[in-house]
């Protein structure tokens, strides 16, 4: 081998060996973490060794996950990967489009079999409840803000998914189709740039539609004090792709003629005088400022003279909507079927329910696997 080549190999080896040894030692020395805020999951711990875990190979595969989960600078490396992706013109990472200054979640596949079960359960539940039911199926950024998708991006037709869903719901259920309204405001800040949720503004516009259908009267922005609670929100989509520099602002809309209320989280056994959780602003997932996150059942009791009692069956899109509903109802029972395992129809009587509202975003609803079971516990 030629001299310069040997020198080159030597120098490069020294640098690479240094990098590898530093990571090798630090990874073994630095204590393990329990969970990752960015990835929203528990991390693999050092696996326990047993005859059976050794035999079926589980020990070694857990060892691999342990090492990569606990790898030093994991989140920073993910951000480096994002930066390289961005620099080399990548337009999509897994199911997230890297749009023009925004991250946009792709339209999800429909879980057809489960969807039919869910619709049947919803129809049965609503027709037998004897109270007016409403269904608000929120579109996602990918269909409202198509213009922000990267060039040539092809996505499934979410409008068709929503149309099909609405068409299969019982005629007695009132469909709150907010797509036209959101379409009209599509240039505004309707969806977070780094998160899969809609903003309070989008929820507000949708609430205007909902209010007129539910007979709650005219609603205008002047009815609310709008406070920005954070300008450094990095949401779930940022976590998925490791984006850097993109940040969001979260606004809360507090009704001006606000009544006192008590929020009881029956799943986590906590009570509070506010639906906003200031503690959430110190965590990574700042969207949990609304209700403190998703919980199986939350009950709101208002100190007002309304005679209406709402049962809200929902996913996390509804968390932003609740601030608008509070003044109009005496109680609101909020059920998240993903975490609620009791008989929902019992609540109709015990809580003197007068209105039922379903509020979901399309991507979650098309994939949902818990609604049918939650609504038809009674049948078993």
């Amino acid at each position: 081998m030629k001299k310069p080549m040997i020198r080159f190999n030597k120098r490069l080896t020294q640098i690479l060996a240094l990098i590898v040894s530093v990571f090798c030692v630090l990874n073994l020395v630095i204590p393990d973490s329990d969970k990752s805020a960015v990835e929203n999951r528990s991390l693999q711990k050092f696996p326990s060794l047993s005859a059976s875990s050794l035999k079926d190979g589980e020990f070694f595969s857990e060892l691999n996950s342990w090492y990569s989960d606990q790898f030093l600078g994991r989140d920073q490396f993910m951000q480096l990967k994002y930066a390289v992706n961005k620099l080399t013109g990548t337009k999509q990472i897994n199911d997230v489009f890297l749009g023009k200054g925004v991250l946009i979640e792709d339209v999800s596949e429909v879980n057809t079999e489960q969807k039919e079960r869910n619709i049947a359960a919803i129809n049965t539940f609503c027709t037998s409840s004897g109270v007016p039911s409403y269904f608000l199926l929120a579109p996602n950024a990918v269909s409202i803000q198509k213009d922000k998708l990267p060039a040539f991006a092809t996505v499934k037709d979410q409008n068709q998914q929503i149309d099909d869903y609405y068409a299969k719901l019982d005629p007695s259920i009132q469909k709150v189709d907010v797509r036209k309204t959101l379409e009209k405001h599509k240039e505004e800040y309707l969806y977070y740039k780094t998160d899969h949720h809609w903003t309070s503004l989008a929820a507000f516009y949708s609430f205007q539609d909902l209010a007129s259908m539910m007979g709650l009267g005219e609603v205008s922005k002047d009815n609310y004090n709008i406070y920005p609670v954070t300008t450094s929100f990095e949401g779930t989509l940022a976590g998925k792709v490791g984006s850097v520099l993109l940040k969001d602002q979260i606004d809360i809309y507090v009704p001006k003629d606000n009544d006192e209320y008590i929020m009881s989280d029956l799943t986590n056994a906590t009570t509070s005088r506010s639906i906003y959780s200031s503690k959430a602003l110190e965590t990574r997932d700042q969207y949990t400022v609304f209700l403190g996150g998703n919980s199986g059942r939350i009950t709101l009791e208002m100190n007002n003279n309304s005679d209406r009692h709402l049962l809200l069956i929902k996913d996390s899109y509804a968390n932003t909507m609740i601030q608008f509903l509070i003044p109009y109802f005496r109680t609101i029972d909020i059920i998240d079927p993903r975490y609620y395992y009791e008989d929902v129809s019992n609540l109709l009587e015990t809580q003197l329910i007068t209105d039922v509202l379903f509020l979901y975003n399309s991507n979650t609803l098309m994939q949902d696997t818990s609604m049918a079971d939650c609504l038809s516990v009674e049948a078993e």
């Binding site: 081998m1 030629k2 001299k3 310069p4 080549m5 040997i6 020198r7 080159f8 190999n9 030597k10 120098r11 490069l12 080896t13 640098i15 690479l16 060996a17 990098i19 590898v20 040894s21 990571f23 090798c24 990874n27 073994l28 990835e39 929203n40 999951r41 528990s42 050794l54 035999k55 079926d56 190979g57 070694f60 060892l63 691999n64 996950s65 090492y67 990569s68 790898f71 994991r74 490396f77 993910m78 480096l80 990967k81 390289v84 080399t88 013109g89 990548t90 337009k91 999509q92 990267p150 060039a151 040539f152 991006a153 092809t154 899969h196 779930t236 976590g239 998925k240 490791g242 996390s316």
Partner: protein, 453 residues
């Protein structure tokens, strides 16, 4: 465990190198390396460790018998029985379900032991070398164990011949120079695998359902680049690891996509496998001295079958057998006189068509992809443009690095101004290595919308 995993690069490999270099004496070094190799193998599938050890024991004992026996007839019997057991083992795991499928019988649920196709061929190389008298039977079971099971080459080769490795088994001088070149080759292979092959794999899967003509071309081309960077990257890593422990193995790839005939391509693609078939099947069958056509077809049928238990692989092998015969009897004079660029394009297109058979799950699917490649009615759609524009730098790098240009520029630059070249390339390698880590971390990233317990 795969070479491109964090735990291998940052834990298993450095710890192994450290242990190997620190323990005294060749014998202890070999013990350490053999134990590490067994651990590496157990990592994939602990149960099959028994299979590997039985394989080593069987070939060790059979070769001793071959070495001692003087009666030619008995030697022949021992030789064929040994080979038959090796092949039966390979066949049982790899081809049983395929054969059952032909007769419409339901498949067994067995996983293929990692590297079985590779270490079986290594073992056969050993037995054949001892039988032919090229090499004496190995007295030391540890040395033979190392030849078959060394973790650098057990999972994906190269299928190093026994007679090439024989002198390196018992004793290998520690050479820093060799070590340094090994580390650099490993880094190069890792970069090829993680930053090129794995990214082309994403393009390939993104276009699997595309129905346009351009889409079918990009689909096939992305596979062509993926498999090259994947396999040659893995071979670079394997040979690099070998060097870290003092082994010298021959290169396995030599810029196959710069070939100017299909015959030339096969001198450059997976060299250890084609040499194996040449030395242990083609020449013993008679080579080009008698039954040439038959020999070629047998070799290429087996080459195809070796790659997997599916008709598509057999067809792929026979396709190459056919082209090689065609080149030999018809095309040779044209390939020698036509401009190089034409010969190069001719080779690339035929190899590309070959890959379509190779990657398709069935023969019908292969023809349907080939059909789309000439479907001028539906030239392109927005999905192809999306994938193409989102991966332009990848395709440019892929085309540049798969030819000889990169190596030529590198060596020219190194000759002209070694200091500057060395500084620039060191910087680039380190940069790409760090990006590699980022992509390796990225591939283990699983972010959830809702907290996953």
């Amino acid at each position: 465990m795969v070479f491109n995993s964090l735990i291998f690069v940052f834990c298993f490999l450095p710890v192994s190198v450290f242990l190997y270099w620190i323990v005294p004496g060749s014998f202890v070094k070999n013990v350490v390396l053999f134990v590490l190799s067994l651990l590496f193998y157990a990592w994939n599938e602990p149960f099959y460790l028994i299979l590997l050890l039985l394989n080593i024991a069987w070939n060790y004992l059979s070769a001793l018998e071959l070495g001692q026996e003087e009666d030619e007839k008995k030697r022949k019997i021992v030789f064929w029985i040994t080979i038959a057991v090796n092949l039966l083992l390979l066949g049982a795991f790899k081809y049983t379900n395929f054969l059952l499928g032909i007769f419409g019988i339901a498949a067994f649920d067995v996983s293929l032991p990692v590297g079985l196709s590779f270490f079986t061929f290594s073992a056969i190389s050993y037995i054949a070398d001892v039988y032919k008298g090229t090499s004496p039977a190995q007295k030391n079971p540890l040395d033979l164990g190392l030849y078959i099971a060394f973790f650098g080459k057990i999972t994906s080769g190269p299928i190093a011949f026994y007679h090439d490795m024989e002198n390196q088994l018992a004793y290998r001088p520690l050479s820093k120079e060799l070590f340094f070149s090994g580390v650099c080759l490993f880094a190069k292979g890792l970069i090829k695998k993680v930053l090129l092959a794995d990214q082309f794999a994403l393009v390939f899967s993104a276009l699997s359902a595309n129905t346009s003509m351009l889409g079918a071309w990009i689909y096939a081309i992305s596979y062509m680049l993926e498999i090259y960077f994947d396999f040659s990257g893995y071979s670079d890593m394997a040979i690099g690891i070998g060097r870290m422990f003092g082994f010298t193995m021959k290169p396995n790839f030599d810029h196959p996509y710069s070939a100017i005939s299909v015959q030339d391509f096969w001198r450059r693609w997976h060299i250890s496998l084609s040499s194996w078939f040449r030395d242990y099947v083609y020449i013993p069958l008679g080579g080009n001295r008698h039954d040439y056509v038959r020999n070629i077809l047998i070799v290429w049928f087996l080459t195809g079958l070796w790659h997997g238990a599916n008709w598509t692989f057999i067809l792929w092998g026979l396709y190459y057998g056919g082209i090689l015969l065609l080149e030999k009897f018809v095309l040779k004079p044209y390939l020698q006189t036509l401009p190089k660029i034409i010969c190069h394009l001719y080779t690339l297109v035929l190899v590309l068509i070959g890959w379509v058979f190779f990657f398709s799950p069935g023969i019908l699917e292969a023809f349907s992809t080939l059909g789309r490649m000439i479907n001028v009615v539906h030239p392109m759609d927005s999905q192809v443009l999306f994938v193409l524009f989102g991966n332009l730098p990848l395709f440019i790098l892929g085309v540049l690095f798969s030819g000889t240009l990169y190596d030529r520029v590198f060596h020219l630059f190194m000759d002209r101004s070694p200091k500057r070249a060395s500084a620039i390339y060191t910087f680039l390698y380190v940069l790409f290595f760090v990006v590699c880590i980022a992509f390796m971390v990225g591939s283990t990233y699983q972010s959830f919308l809702y907290f996953a317990f």
